[in-house]
Amino acid sequence: MEVIVVDREKCTQCHTCVLWCGIEIGSLAKELNQAIHEEPQPVPRVHVEGNNFPLHCRHCEVAPCIDACPNGSMRRDPKTGLVYVHEPTCIACWMCVMVCPFGIVAPSSSHHVAIKCDRCRNMEYPICVEVCPTNALKLQVTRKGLPEGESHYVQYSKGLEGF
């Protein structure tokens, strides 16, 4: 599976990933000048919090959100392993919100669905990785659930120690 990894040294907290996620994924218009005035307000799937760490869905191998969903709206793409919300059937019960250990799933009262990062599964490349001006975000193939490659990239569990 390919996941997004974060280099905390490079993240400047510029929020470019949040902005573009809101435009490309969250908005109907898909265009900056219209998206920023859209109602209900588009919801970005990535959040830049303290400690220079853009939070993305981890697409956990044992995903509590899938288990908690009462009607099978939280699903895993069998091909890519990515976890996503099937919005037409989501009943906005927020079970997934409660069980996510990372606080990734956002309850959207205005959209009446649970909103989370699906790693741009229908796009060639995740938008946040594409727009990150410092290359702090990178797409990497995982082996046994952990990303390969340079050790300075934050791995799942380590990256969250500071929270």
């Binding site: 920023i36 005035h37 919801v43």
Partner: protein, 558 residues
Amino acid sequence: MEFVHKKTADSAVESFLPKAAEQGVALVWDRYEGSLPQCGFCETGLNCRDCLQGPCISHPFRDQNKVGVCGKDKDILGVHSFLRLVLHGAMAYFDQLADFAEGVMSGEISPKDKGGSDKVLKDIQALLSNGTAAVMKEFPKGLVDGWRAKGVSPEGIARDLFKVSQKLDGGTSGVEDTLLWAFKAALSGCVAQVLQGRLKLAVFGDGPPKALEVNLGVLQGGVPTILLCGHFSPILKQGIAEAAKGKNMGVMGLCTDPLVPPHIFPPVTNYGSQEIPIMTGAVDLIVAGDQCVNPSLAGLAKQWNVGLVQTEVLNRGGDLKGSARKIVAQVQKAFDGRRKVTRDIPAIKESALMGFSAKGLDMKKIAQAVKGKKIKGLALLAGCNNVKFTQDLEIVSLARELLKRDVFCVSEGCASISLAKYGLLNPQNRESSCGKGLSDLLSSLGKDLPPVVDLGSCENGAVTEFLLAMGKLPQELPLVACFPEANRTKAVARAAWTVAMGVPTYFWPFLPVTGSPKTTEALGDFCQKTFGAKFNVITEKMEPAEKADLILKNLGRG
């Protein structure tokens, strides 16, 4: 995401792009592509760096971070973003004016019309101290009374610039109030530009429009060549031309006023391709100001072993004439040292007739043609190039559309150079470029009028003088201003005062105010209510024909 577009419509410039790639030379287009995607907060004016508690953003997609640390919300951020640009632009005109006036006052040059020059100098003092420049009396009374009532007419730089600059520091002014302060700064810039034009006329004298050639083909190759780049004192420019006289050397211009009577500095290219002349190898020395000069020129000049003289330095030392003589001696030396450098000059140039003025045009005939509906209206074309668009394509295509549809087009500054490169300032192309009504009007105005009438560089106020000479309030005329490829802050200030004069203005690319619905709306409806014209901020992508449709619709409003 697809960011890349065709880089330039100018084939002379285009021929250098593969060469630059081969040599690993990064040009403006490479740097632009490298900067993509540009910061969306900055692009929409939702950011602020005016103090050290920030930088702040107003986040469009989150419930937190909606307001800056000091409390600026998205609307104040948006209007401040506009104010910052206008203020910077207005000051640029004061900078040019101050340089020139200082040279004249210190006796560096003996003006052709000493009495006239003294009168203008006195007026400049009045503009700087309390805004009571006599030239304001030449503006239509209705217009000036309106400005006074709103408090936006010039009151001296302490209020027009210093006070305006502090609006960015804080205070509780709302969007519309802040916007009026921005227009105040812009209008004082307008008067500064008009006075600079008047001083130029008094010092160097008036003359008929000049025939000249533009584009890279004007470079000669075999002779020492000085390139005057950007805006700096015309007295220095004249000094260089005088010192070079009879010495078999070329003195060319780039993003500078090409006409300082009796001298002509043929424009080698325009803003977007500012780096290319160095790559021809045919430039031996660059004399560069600050305004409109890309910092990248320093690196390129070094790479091509081209001398670089900065005009805006701390310790100027000596007189301008002495500096001019030194520059001319330096270029001869530079040329001798660069004999081995290959000269690669594309044989592309175009003739143009430039430097018209309201005085030299039969304004009555133009007014009659407007009244008799022989032409659809008048368009002012301004602005330079912007790397966000294919160089020259927007302005030239729009001008061609407008000419075909019988719109009388006047242009100024770098916009004129763009149009000149494609023959739109060449009288020979009048019949083929213009609709019948316009063509008839132009030929009745004189036998050698080009399709687009150039009113001179942005170092003089000929466009404002043209508007004043129309004899009516601009808002009563079918008149629009278009900035199809705007770039510098000067263009924003210029567009702002054009709106304040009652001329509906179209501006591309969109200004960094779109994050604030109130500011965007105020630039439209509030300006319409206050000045009788809208400052149109357009975010949609439009083809030149669509733009022309939009402009014609506006011209037909009356």
